[in-house]
């Protein structure tokens, strides 16, 4: 029910806000000459239902949405669902890789920083994490492309695959998975080599964030009685850290990872642009600049869904980590 209400709210906001912009989507999409041709403009409006009053457009859209029809994109002239089906997996592949990288490294370094509190390691990690959070992602993207592609020649250039490499048969839309599923190891290798750099660039800022959050959370539980008890019982330090400290420190870290995942899934337009990564960020940017209403609403629904799911997963993980949450 909450999902339905949220969808209605999102679609309504998108409809109203888009129509507040003093521009006609027909003119934005038809170009300078045809946009001044009344017949061409009228045909465009009829095709996309823009000739109807806004409330009617909204009702028609919602009615179609209930049947799984998200309308036709004005920029690609094919179903929005088909567009999203291609753009979302590209971003998902990048986002999941970067979040896994940043979570593993960030949490690990955060624990290390807390355990070495105020020592040289902690100071170095503070500088590293702050640097990661402070660097603009587009700048880091360009510099890393220059260094690792142009200067060191260690990784391939932009894009999801080399231009001459065929795309794997689409199952998930994620090239690495699809190449794996189809057994095309050369394509998998190529896709992975293209994925490394943009994923690392995206991971940099989140890694810094996770390091800071983990350090702070671990410090809060480090001096608790049960940690001292665990150590007094003679438990190995590794077991103390993983079973007692990290588990207790996890909830805030998981929350921030969940939010970061939502951000990465929906807000990577600059990195996608530099690396020619055809993801949802680029799609949403173009939808906005061309006032492509069906695509804008489709993207907004996707964004809402991502955050709902991210929060849901976080809640489930809370319950798994801390049984008291389940009881309440």
């Amino acid at each position: 029910m909450a999902l339905v209400l949220l969808s209605l709210g999102v679609t309504m906001i998108a409809f109203v806000l888009t129509h507040l912009v003093p521009e006609d989507p027909a003119e934005a999409n038809l170009g300078q000459r045809a946009g001044s041709d009344p017949v061409a403009v009228q045909i465009f409006r009829e095709r996309y239902g823009l000739d109807k009053p806004l409330p009617v457009q909204y009702v028609v859209y919602v009615s179609n949405l209930l049947h799984g029809d998200m309308g036709e994109s004005e920029q690609s002239r094919r179903p929005v669902r088909a567009d999203l089906g291609e753009y979302i997996p590209a971003t998902a592949e990048l986002a999941v890789t970067s979040i896994v990288l940043s979570a593993v490294l960030g949490v690990g370094l955060g624990v290390l920083a807390a355990l070495r509190r105020n020592k040289l390691t902690d100071q170095i990690l503070r500088v590293v994490s702050l640097a990661g959070m402070s660097m603009p992602s587009f700048w880091l993207a360009l510099v890393s492309l220059y260094v690792f592609f142009y200067q060191l020649n260690l990784i391939p250039g932009s894009g999801r695959l080399d231009p001459g490499v065929a795309r794997p048969p689409s199952v998930t839309g994620m090239y690495t998975l699809d190449a794996l599923l189809s057994g095309r190891m050369d394509t998998l290798t190529n896709a992975l080599s293209h994925l490394i750099l943009p994923a690392c660039v995206l991971a940099a800022s989140n890694m810094g964030l996770f390091t800071r959050f983990t350090r702070s959370a671990v410090l809060e539980v480090l001096e608790n009685d049960y940690v001292r008890t665990a150590r007094a019982k003679g438990l190995p330090e590794r077991a103390v850290i993983l079973g007692h400290i990290l588990r207790a420190a996890s909830p805030p870290v998981i929350t921030v990872i969940g939010l970061a995942f939502g951000n990465v899934m929906t807000g990577t337009v600059l990195v996608e642009n530099i690396f020619s990564w055809p993801g949802i960020g680029q799609y949403s940017f173009r939808s906005a600049t061309t006032l492509d209403l069906p695509s804008i609403v489709g993207v907004m629904l996707f964004v809402a869904l991502v955050y709902i799911l991210a929060n849901l997963v976080v809640d489930i993980l809370y319950g798994m980590i801390d049984p008291r949450v389940r009881l309440t």
């Binding site: 990784i155 391939p156 065929a166 189809s182 190891m185 998998l188 992975l192």
Partner: protein, 575 residues
């Protein structure tokens, strides 16, 4: 694209890891039918039927596509892919010439896949040359154009291209009434009296028709294929035609390439195995990719077989010393112009001739050229220097500050205030030009307020004639001065400046005559006269022709910029 050795090491490591990871979950071996390399591989191994390669009738020398590079001179490019990077996302909208053919960015694709009746030679846009049509005639009144088609032209599926296909393509564009409809403005009918004769009739004399038919949006589509997939050229096609979705997955033209794939970031082409022309394209595969300009700047320096199209003149200049690249920086035929609105409801003093002169002579054109960067040049008139009827640079308006101040004084306006609107850009170049204009006119005594807006806001106000003063651009639709009649009173741009027919009837009459005159020498003189008058007394001020650049890796040859289709993939060879 060349794969450097060190990169292969990384890929080998990744490959080993991937192989290990895949043993548990992947099929034991790829299916025999699964492609293991680029889709271009199959194209590379396909040879064109000999019959299709040889014209069945002797064509005049000029009829051969003038853009094709001699295949014999090029080393083997089998399996190699020509990569063309452009900062434009090629979408499925851009695959149907009758619908998406307004985007200059999509035109290289259309040009490669769909032949047009006439074409231009590499670097020569002075006169159309035969392509699908081996000759054409114009009636004395320039209202009827008869094209005689070659008899050896075949579509990519091997079927012959006939006049009925041309008529279908033109009628479909007319009846879809979509983006490129303006190209056939004034066309009252097209017909195919026999299999190899095609006729265009226009309401008014239009000697530019031979230039217009070179536009890639007027590429000829295979009517049989399109009809089989729901294509229609009948009235009401805007609602009944369903061939668009087919053309999003396959092409149906007779050009040197066919579309072999499209994704969200690139469109792929492979050589047309049934290409009818005497010269086959050198590269078997072409990929047109969406790449940001900043990334293009880095990547082209590490590649082979690559062309980049989106570098600014300054960025291109920065590569001049790189001995691995060919840098072709040029003055583009695009026009950046300024106008003041003469509609008294928008700007009460816009029609004041002295005020217009104050603006005209107050602008520092040389400074604007410097701001615009490498390759830019002052626009001597609205018609770009590359086209028929252009004014020589010596006729361009020069800044005369004293005269500008004197004119402002004569206007009786004191220190007028005016708002300058323009479209903001990612490069900031328009903003810099606007700021320079503001500073120039401040010296004269005109207070300009800058109002940069995103395209979605600025464009409708510009089109609606609501702006007091505007700074905008114009890209040619076809390389003929008739395209610039839009700047005349009562025409497209003129109306946006509130400049109506009644304001300058003599000029309008001269424009109508120029637009209807067939003799090139006569019309060239007329257009020069028109522009001279525009430069003396009009609310429109041509400023600059911005710079452009095409940068290629050193091994590529015959890469020439075209104002109609940008570059011709099929013409590109290797050394």
């Amino acid at each position: 694209m060349h794969r450097p050795q060190r990169k292969l090491h990384i890929q080998a490591l990744l490959g080993a890891a991937a192989l290990a990871a895949s043993t548990a979950c992947a099929p034991a071996a790829p299916p025999a039918s699964a492609p293991t390399s680029a889709p271009t591989t199959s194209a590379a191994s396909t040879t064109a039927p000999a019959a299709a390669a040889k014209p069945t009738t002797a064509a005049p020398a000029a009829a051969a596509p003038a853009t094709a590079a001699p295949a014999a001179a090029a080393p083997s490019t089998a399996g190699r892919t020509l990569v063309v990077a452009n900062s434009y996302t090629f979408t499925t909208k851009d695959t149907d010439p009758a619908r998406g053919g307004v985007d200059f960015q999509a035109d290289p694709f259309f040009h490669a896949v769909y032949d047009t009746l006439l074409t231009f030679g590499v670097g020569d846009n002075s006169a159309p040359k035969p392509l699908v049509a081996e000759s054409y005639t114009s009636s004395p009144d320039a209202r009827t154009f008869t094209f005689k088609l070659r008899k050896d032209v075949k579509f990519s599926d091997g079927t012959p291209l006939k006049a009925g296909d041309v008529a279908f393509s033109y009628n479909r564009l007319l009846n879809l009434h979509d983006t490129p409809i303006y190209l056939l403005e004034g066309v009252t009918g097209v017909s195919a009296p026999d299999d190899y004769t095609f006729v265009i009739e226009t309401k008014d004399p239009n000697p530019a028709i031979p230039f217009i038919v070179t536009n890639p949006a007027l590429g000829v589509t295979n009517s049989t294929v399109l009809k089989a997939h729901g294509g229609s050229d009948q009235p009401g096609a805007e609602k009944t035609d369903t061939a668009e979705s087919y053309l999003q997955t396959a092409s149906a033209g007779s050009g040197p390439y066919v579309m072999s794939g499209i994704s969200t970031s690139q469109v792929e082409m492979k050589a047309n195995p049934n290409y009818w022309g005497p010269n086959k394209p050198t590269f078997q595969n072409v990929v047109l990719r969406d790449v940001a300009a900043a990334t293009q700047l880095i990547e082209v320096q590490r590649s082979t077989d690559e062309v980049v199209l989106s570098l600014s003149g300054d960025q291109a200049q920065s590569l001049k010393g790189n001995d691995k690249l060919n840098v072709n920086a040029f003055t583009s035929p695009n026009l950046t112009f300024l106008y003041v609105n003469v509609n008294p409801e928008v700007l009460p003093f816009g029609a004041n001739a002295h005020f217009q002169q104050a603006v005209r002579y107050g602008i520092d054109y040389d400074a604007l050229v410097k701001v615009a960067g490498a390759g830019a040049a002052q626009a001597p008139g609205v018609v770009p220097p590359q086209f028929l009827g252009a004014l020589p640079l010596t006729s361009a308006v020069k800044r005369d500050l004293a005269k500008a101040k004197s004119e402002l004084s004569a206007s009786g306006l004191g220190s007028p205030a005016i708002q300058l609107d323009y479209q903001t850009t990612s490069t900031g170049q328009t903003e810099a030009l606007a700021a320079k204009i503001q500073a120039n006119l401040a010296e004269v005594g005109i207070n300009v307020t800058l109002n940069g807006q995103p395209s979605a806001i600025a464009t409708p106000n510009y089109r609606g004639g609501k702006l007091q003063m505007g700074l905008f651009g114009w890209a040619p639709d076809y390389p003929d001065p008739n395209n610039y009649l839009a700047f005349m009173p009562g025409q497209l741009v003129g109306k946006r400046a509130g400049w109506l027919v009644e304001a300058a009837p003599t000029l309008v009459e001269l424009g109508n005559k120029a637009g209807a005159t067939a003799d090139n020498d006569t019309r060239a003189k007329m257009y020069r006269d028109i522009q001279t008058q525009l430069n003396q007394d009009s609310p429109i001020f041509p400023l600059i022709n911005p710079g452009g650049a095409v940068v290629t890796t050193k091994n590529l040859t015959n890469v020439a910029y075209s104002p109609v289709w940008y570059i011709d993939f099929a013409a590109i060879g290797t050394n």
